[in-house]
């Protein structure tokens, strides 16, 4: 029995340039008590379809044709055509929030900052169940308990900004669930979350679905989520359905070339070391050696494997200040005795959840802030120097060697500058060449990242996310650096574009002899691009080693949890929801011995196998007995 039947749905946006069909003749059905996943890239129209079902399409769009038949179980299975109902009218409002509810993508902005969680969750109950304030509060607490919210009694009085992303998402789920809807639409419910939290939220959605007998329509671009959650899949591309069927059929025997291409573009942990992703729209970097500056390639290859940058016992504390900015309120340790080595010509991946200190560690290598303690030495032709000791002038020169690619390609480009100006700026600041040679260098950079020189006079808003990130890469390469920090460069991009950027970075590394530090929360991405991986948690490095060894033979309990939580885009490795460890896994005081760390415990790394180090302070005392050669790297 189908709960929802979408038949021949077309949605049109009317903007300044006329009408634009974003959804074309889409048909699919959602059977009762099943989970259907709507899969596609951004801009494919999958979110628009879900909003049409909810009756919350943006003001500038309308349904031009088609039916959205919803079986109203509370009215003896009477079929309602949502497409015909006025979206703000009482009939649609009665269904929305009561029978059909939605979980949104970004928990950070989906809640009103000025109202308590309790107020916002109980609202739907008051609207549809006509309950009093007291009863609504009880219902809210029940729902918060259902989504395993800690301390529901207190939580109803909390404001969203007092909660973490994971907790906010739980609150949103509770909010959608409070009227026990028959259909739950989840729009990328875990995209903004860390892997471990993602796994928990997915588990939670599954639990609640079973408990409340719900039907789920899941919108996602993540095939890992699809294989773990969905019974049926609908693949959408450019507003049209490309392929639909059961998960098994689609993954084992994909028919449509688009789906095949999409599947090939997703990095997964079970890839072969030399396997390359196949982007849907591949680009080829075009290098031509100019005499703008002698290329460091040869040199870099000669010194391959020697230490380039070394962190020794690096600590960084941040102090919170209260409103007046005077008294100390608290301190957080962003980096706790971090010791790492980046070798010339390699890509070191740093993974961890948000707040693990991975970005702080990377930024410290650029001397973005003074350290609390420790030493970071950078090796040049003249030997190793502590970058903390650099004078202003030396630091300025250091900027030519080490550059960064930022996470968000949308906010990291000045919207008022043309592509040409953006790429020229580093050259102007460092007074490299005259305007003629700068122009040549800019064209070279454009070629390098596979953009066209025709774009040079355009402003950033006319580029897509992937193109912008390529501009970011070109800008970072402008000064011909030898060391690049990539701070989650693909986290804001679609899977298909992600593959393109990852391949580009890989190619550039080989062509230009670069050294990368690649920061990411996505293990599959790090696995694909890195030679070695460092896992961080709560400001500590818990495990470092060659990529294969970390992925195939994780030692540290935290690394294991992290790996277990990654949803794999294949049907053979489904997530084991029952074995999820919960939040305890990211609490160093609750790790089993010898990994346990108290607040004052100094991280201590032990070499388990060649080049594979694990943080196990408990082994320090056993060193002499077991004979492990333990020391900092």
């Amino acid at each position: 029995m189908n709960l929802l039947d979408v038949k021949g749905l077309s949605v049109e946006f009317h903007g300044d340039e006329g009408h634009h069909q974003v959804v074309r003749d889409v048909s699919f059905s959602v059977p009762e008590n099943k989970c259907v996943a709507l899969v596609g890239e951004s801009g494919s129209g999958k979110t628009v379809i879900s909003r049409a079902v909810m009756g919350i399409l943006p003001a500038k769009s309308r349904i031009t044709s088609g039916q959205i038949l919803f079986r109203d179980n509370r009215k003896n299975g009477e079929k309602v055509d949502i497409a015909k109902l006025p979206p703000a009218g009482p009939a649609m409002r009665a269904i929305r929030g009561d029978q059909i509810a939605m979980i949104f993508q970004e928990p950070m902005v989906s809640l009103s900052p000025l109202h308590t969680i309790g107020d916002q969750i109980s609202e739907a109950a008051k609207l549809h169940r006509f309950v009093g304030t007291k009863e609504a509060q009880e219902l809210t607490k029940d729902m918060l308990r259902l989504v395993h919210f800690p301390e529901p009694e207190r939580a109803i009085r909390a404001y969203p900004f007092e909660l973490s992303g994971g907790l906010r998402q739980r609150a949103l789920i509770a909010m959608a669930m409070i009227c026990r809807p028959t259909l739950l639409i989840a729009d990328e419910p875990t995209t903004a979350l860390d892997v471990t939290i993602q796994a928990e939220i997915l588990k939670l959605i599954k639990e609640v679905q079973a408990e409340l007998n719900m039907t789920l329509l899941m919108i996602t671009h993540d095939f890992g989520v699809v294989t773990n959650m969905a019974d049926e899949v609908v693949v959408v591309y450019n507003g049209e359905v490309m392929e639909k069927g059961s998960v098994e059929d689609l993954f084992l025997t994909p028919q449509h070339p688009y789906l095949k291409a999409l599947l090939n573009a997703v990095p997964s942990l079970s890839m072969e070391p030399d396997e390359r992703l196949v982007p849907i729209r591949p680009i080829k970097p075009r290098t031509h050696h100019s005499d703008f500056q002698p290329s460091p390639v040869g040199k870099a290859h000669a010194f391959r494997g020697t230490p380039l940058i070394e962190l020794e016992g690096v600590c960084k504390n941040f102090t919170f200040k209260n409103l007046r900015g005077k008294k100390r309120r608290g301190m957080t340790t962003a980096l706790d005795n971090v010791s790492l080595t980046v070798r010339r010509g390699e890509c070191l991946g740093i993974v961890g959840e948000s707040g693990s200190g991975k970005t702080t560690a990377a930024l410290a290598m650029l001397r973005a802030f003074p350290l609390t303690r420790g030493k970071i030495s950078y090796t040049t032709e003249d030997g190793a120097r502590d970058i903390q000791g650099f004078s202003e002038k030396e630091l300025f020169q250091y900027r030519k060697r080490a550059q960064i690619i930022f996470q968000d390609p949308f906010s990291s480009l000045n919207p008022r500058r043309t592509l040409n100006e953006i790429l020229q700026e580093p050259l102007v600041i460092h007074r490299m060449g005259d305007s003629l040679s700068q122009g040549a260098r800019i064209r070279e950079l454009i070629d390098l990242v596979g953009l066209s020189p025709r774009y040079l006079r355009r402003y950033p808003h006319s580029f897509s996310g992937g193109q912008r990130q390529r501009i970011g890469i070109a800008r970072a390469l402008a000064l011909n650096p030898e060391f690049l920090i990539c701070d989650e460069p693909t986290s804001a991009l679609d899977v298909s574009v992600q593959a393109q950027i990852l391949n580009l970075l890989k190619d550039l590394k080989d062509e230009l002899g670069l050294t990368y530090v690649f920061v990411s929360h996505n293990l599959a991405v790090v696995d694909y691009i890195s030679d070695r991986i460092a896992v961080m948690c709560k400001g500590k490095v818990v495990e470092v080693g060659p990529t294969r060894q970390i992925i195939d033979n994780p030692i540290h309990p935290y690394t294991r949890t992290l790996l277990k939580a990654v949803p794999e885009p294949s049907l053979d490795h489904k997530l084991d929801f029952s074995s999820l460890a919960g939040t305890a896994s990211s609490d160093p005081t609750q790790w089993p011995s010898p990994y346990r760390m108290r607040y004052s415990t100094v991280p201590y790394l032990v070499e388990i196998e060649t080049d594979h180090w694990v943080c196990a302070p408990g082994m320090e005392s056993m060193r002499d007995i077991v004979g492990l050669g333990g020391s900092h790297i």
Binding site: M54, I56, A88, M92, R93, A94, I95, R96, G97, D98, A101, M102, F104, E106, M108, V109, S110, L111, S112, P113, L114, H115, T116, Q120, E123, A124, L127, H128, Y159, P160, F161, E162, L172, M175, A176, N322, L323
Partner: protein, 342 residues
């Protein structure tokens, strides 16, 4: 919260001290004082008979002392000819021009000034809010364009011109004598229903005149603020619960869009006092504005100083009120966490 208000009140003391010093310093900047000007004027006309009395006044009000001493005496921190007798002790000074204590000159005008200001602020908020909300929710509609046009006209028309036009219209259409604060025969009579009505009727035109530009500016800003908010995700979240559009608008985006307006209360007050000077002169309103203008022109220093200080106090109180309201309405400010980053 109480703690916070107390702390803010304490901070106001040094602020006031600094303001009073600045006010006194600036008023004293021009050469001479009221009495020395009078003396030289009398000398030039050859009438030196009353010079002796003026010299006595100069001594009496310590105008012959050095600057810092004069300031101290004015505030009441330094013994003057009559001992400690300044603002702190409740002596607001002497107006030479009116030949009266400042309190008696200013006193009758203060209630009207405050009433006029409050009425104007209320007018601004009452008119600007519905229009601003309408303009934001019906962006680029005929109504939006009409209000935008009227708003720009309101911003661009000089107040005094509007005052004259309205004065003429009110007189020729409704037979209201707009000038002054009440019908002439009520002046000096005890307060009665008729007198109160007359005052209210006379307030309407000045309120509209003074409030127009503020209203226009506020409509534009509310529209912009609200437009920023109504497309945010949390509004969609609320909509997905099945709320009525009107209820939703008031509960969510309007609440968030409100902050700048509350923060503005403190700034509105001084601009209303200084903005209403010309209008008050044109409409012959006995507010503080024209008195201040006269005092500044004739270097009636104690009078001018007191009025300026009074306006500053109003501003400080306005700021305090807006801060307390903001803290009350916005948990991010009240709880002072990193939520402000959102």
């Amino acid at each position: 919260m109480l703690n916070y208000i107390l702390r803010r009140l304490l901070v106001m003391i040094p602020t006031l001290a600094a303001i009073s010093f600045l006010v006194f310093f600036i008023i004293e900047l021009p050469e001479g004082d009221y009495i020395s000007n009078q003396i030289s004027m009398l000398r030039s006309t050859g009438e030196s008979a009353s010079i002796g009395r003026l010299e006595f006044l100069r001594k009496e009000f310590a105008l012959d002392r050095p600057f810092v001493e004069r300031y101290g005496i004015w505030v009441g921190l330094w013994p003057g000819p009559n001992g400690f007798d300044g603002l702190i002790q409740g002596n607001w000074g002497w107006s030479f021009e009116y030949d009266q204590p400042v309190g008696e000159v200013v006193g009758p005008t203060l209630p009207l000034t405050v009433a006029l200001n409050l009425a104007t602020i209320l007018f601004i908020y009452c008119v600007a809010f519905p229009i601003g909300i309408y303009s934001a929710t019906h962006q680029y509609s005929l109504g939006d364009y009409t209000f935008t046009l009227i708003g720009y006209l309101g911003l661009a028309t000089p107040n005094f011109l509007l005052a004259l036009v309205l004065m003429y219209l009110a007189n020729s259409w409704f037979g209201l004598t707009v000038g002054g604060i009440m019908e002439e025969h009520y002046i000096g009579e005890p307060l009665s229903g008729g007198k109160a009505l007359s005052i209210v009727a006379h307030l309407i035109v000045p309120v509209i005149v003074i409030g127009t530009s503020g209203t226009a500016a506020m409509i534009r800003r509310l529209r912009a603020n609200l437009l920023d908010e109504i497309y945010k995700q949390y509004v969609t979240t609320a909509r997905s619960k099945g709320m009525r559009e009107s209820k939703l608008l008031v509960k969510y985006p309007l609440r968030v869009a409100l902050n700048p307006f509350i923060a503005d209360i403190g700034n509105l007050i001084p601009s209303l006092v200084s903005g209403s000077v010309i209008v008050s002169v044109v409409l012959n309103l006995p507010t503080v504005g024209p008195v201040l203008l006269g005092a500044l022109q004739s270097q009636d220093q104690f009078l001018a100083g007191f009025i300026l200080l009074f306006v500053s106090i109003l501003t400080l109180i306005g700021m305090l009120v807006s801060d307390v309201l903001l803290g009350y309405l916005d948990p991010r400010i009240r709880l002072g966490k990193e939520g402000a980053r959102q």
